[in-house]
Amino acid sequence: MSMLSVTVPYWGQSIFRVVGVLLAVLLPAGTFVYVYLFKMVSFMQSRLGPMEAGPYGSMQLLAEVGKFLQKEDIIPERADRRIFAMAPIIVMVSTFVLFIVVPFGPDAVFHGGPQGITAGVFLALALSSISVLGILMAGWASSNKYSLMGGLRAAGQLIAYELPMVLSVLGVVIQAETLDMQGIVVKQNSGSIFGIDWLGNPYILTQFVAFVIFMIAVQAELTQNPFDMPVAESELVAGYMTEYSGFRFLTFFIAEFATAGAFCAIASTLFLGGWGLPYSWFGWSADSIGSVGNWMNVVGPLILFGKMMALGFVIFWVRFTYPRFREDQLQKFAWKVLIPLSLANIAVTAILKVVF
């Protein structure tokens, strides 16, 4: 790593990487849970939320983690033990793996090799569909009719909404001419729109339709309202998570919020310019990544975090406002509205790319 002027041995780098991933996953999850789930929803519902644990309830998350960890591990008698135990791990693993492709700074990237992961977008979309397996396993292995219904609904919904996600991202890829996430960030920050330099070229401006479709698909992938049929609290109690308690439930819980963080990070990378600020502010050149100042390796993650929080705010705001769709209305929406729209978006982007 050339970030510091000290050469770090390989084992040191591995530790950095592990700690980095853990931080990258758990920090956004924790912040999302506290700021949005505990406080923002409470204020929106004209109540205060948790206030006891720590000042203004800030230690509530630690208290909850401790509470879940010390609970008895209950597995239903007729459940399939191995699959029951594996399901939350699979969902968690898919979340961790999703963060690998997100660039946090000009050099703060999880390299897969000397060139890094050149097909980051492709990898991200492929990895995000692993969680469907975990959810289906959870629904089936619980030997509970409610869980089974929740798992089946989830499978249908998650598969249906992957397509709009992929297709909407294609518009960005066409415009950036690369699948590499780092390259997309550089393109956005060094570009210009209508000759205006100081804004860069965040793809949210040109790919607005794709952005909206992507956010809707993300909402569905996270099984949040209005797409939370799999976890419809008033019908299925907790859907595929009904039989899970203790640390297994904690795994699902953290995975849900970490995935929210991951998708928000990917969305801000693809549409809002990721870790970067417009290059024209600092006179960096777009050709080599080395021209970006080294201080961006520290500030970059913070900027990315800020953009992530902004998108997370929108996701959770929508979650706590809308009622939920019925399963067939959900599917209709995905197949009949979102997919044609995203296909149209690709077509228009391609035409405009060639023309301009």
Partner: protein, 390 residues
């Protein structure tokens, strides 16, 4: 691409499979799901046994009685004032409204009428219990559909009404304030102004619910055309209250049944909706809540002076006879058939509760709907377990 004959063969096999799935009543072909008795959606311990075919309900049957307290037997060993304490707890969200028909029946038998001030205050408290009951419904139906926020607003604004009821009667949930011949006490000082302020707040609340939910497309998708009950079927089953008015029947016992209460002293409107679906039931109740606030305002302005209790003996013995009085309670038509033998207590009381009839229509209306719609329809019919099970 398969050949025409192969495609025909496949279609034939698929059709056979589908037929066998639906026509044969073997347990393995469908899933029998027990919704309740402990479940977040049902307002209490109601159990719905549903036979599912995928996500569609083939038949559904409500099983009630988990909260049966034997009220009709209990009334036979109590005196008339003691029965009032008991029947408060039938519909516990709008509990003042439960006392009124019973007291009116006893007064009918005794040929006693409460003084005008008592009648006005009874009507005002009746409408306040309607507002608090239906305000909870407005938030709660949203929660059943997945919108988790309006229910908090409903509880918050309902607190104001409950504080009013507590200020006047001493009890938030179980006032036990009605007496044969009038009321226990007069209103406290400052209550009238407080009530007017709260009525403004409740009108704002209704407007909030209208913008938040009625205009929301997802809410409309989930409720329009779901659980349509035609008026003829509704009347056969004895559906009452807002459920009946949402099917287009213009019938409100407050306006159409003469009673010694003060509803005809105020100028108000009966709301109906022609559709008969879940959205209509929600919409009618929303408008009715607003209308109730207007009734309360008008009655407060014209409140007559005087005493709140007529001259009745200390030990009340109701003369022999039978009487039936029913009123337009928040849940529907609630009535008491009181049989008295000249004793201090009733001989037999038949309690006609609204939710009993409202829920009996479930097995008819829940055929062929999806599982999420079961929740929508049940919450739009709006029952209270104490009302079904007595």
């Amino acid at each position: 691409m398969t050949l025409m004959s192969d495609r025909n063969q496949l279609a034939y096999i698929a059709a056979q499979a589908a037929d066998s799935r639906v026509n044969v009543e073997i347990e393995t072909e469908g899933m029998t799901l027990n919704i309740g008795p402990q479940h977040p959606a049902t307002h209490g311990t109601l159990r719905i046994v549903a036979r599912l075919d995928g996500e569609q309900v083939v038949w559904a049957e409500p099983v009630c009685g988990y909260m049966h307290r034997g009220y009709e037997k209990l009334t036979e060993v109590r005196s008339f004032p003691q029965v009032t304490t008991l029947i408060n707890r039938i519909d516990w969200l709008g509990s003042f409204a439960n006392e009124v028909p019973f007291i009116l029946a006893a007064e009918q038998l005794m040929e006693v009428e409460a003084p005008p001030r008592a009648q006005y205050i009874r009507t005002i408290l009746f409408e306040l219990s309607r507002i608090s009951n239906i305000a909870l419904f407005l938030g709660d139906m949203a929660a059943q559909l997945g919108a988790v926020t309006p229910v908090f607003y409903a509880f918050r604004d309902r607190e104001y009404v409950l504080n009013l009821i507590e200020g006047a009667t001493g009890g938030r949930f179980h006032p036990n304030f009605d007496r044969i011949g009038g009321l226990k006490d007069d209103l406290p000082a400052g209550w009238i102004d407080e009530t007017k302020a709260v009525m403004k707040k409740m009108r704002n609340f209704c407007d909030e619910m209208e913008t938040l939910l009625v205009g929301n497309e997802i809410f409309q998708h989930r409720t329009r055309g779901i659980g349509i009950i035609p008026a003829a079927v509704a009347l056969q089953y004895g559906l009452s209250g807002a459920n009946l008015r949402a099917s287009g029947v213009d019938w409100d016992l407050r306006r159409d049944q003469p009673s010694p209460m003060a509803w005809n002293k105020a100028d108000w409107k009966v709301w109906t909706h022609p559709d008969g679906d879940s959205f209509a039931r929600y919409w009618v109740r929303l408008q009715e809540t607003r209308e109730s606030t207007r009734i309360v305002d008008q009655l407060l302005d014209s409140l007559p002076a005087g005493s709140v209790m007529a001259k009745v003996p200390r030990i009340i013995k109701v003369p022999e006879g039978e009487a039936w009085v029913s009123t337009e309670n928040p849940l529907g038509e609630m009535g008491y058939y009181v049989v008295s033998k000249g004793d201090t207590g009733p001989f037999r009381v038949k309690i006609r509760s609204a939710s009993f009839n409202n829920v009996s229509i479930s097995s008819w209306v829940l055929r062929g709907v999806y599982v999420p719609d079961v929740i929508t329809i049940l919450s739009s019919l709006y029952f209270i377990l104490g009302d079904i099970d007595r």
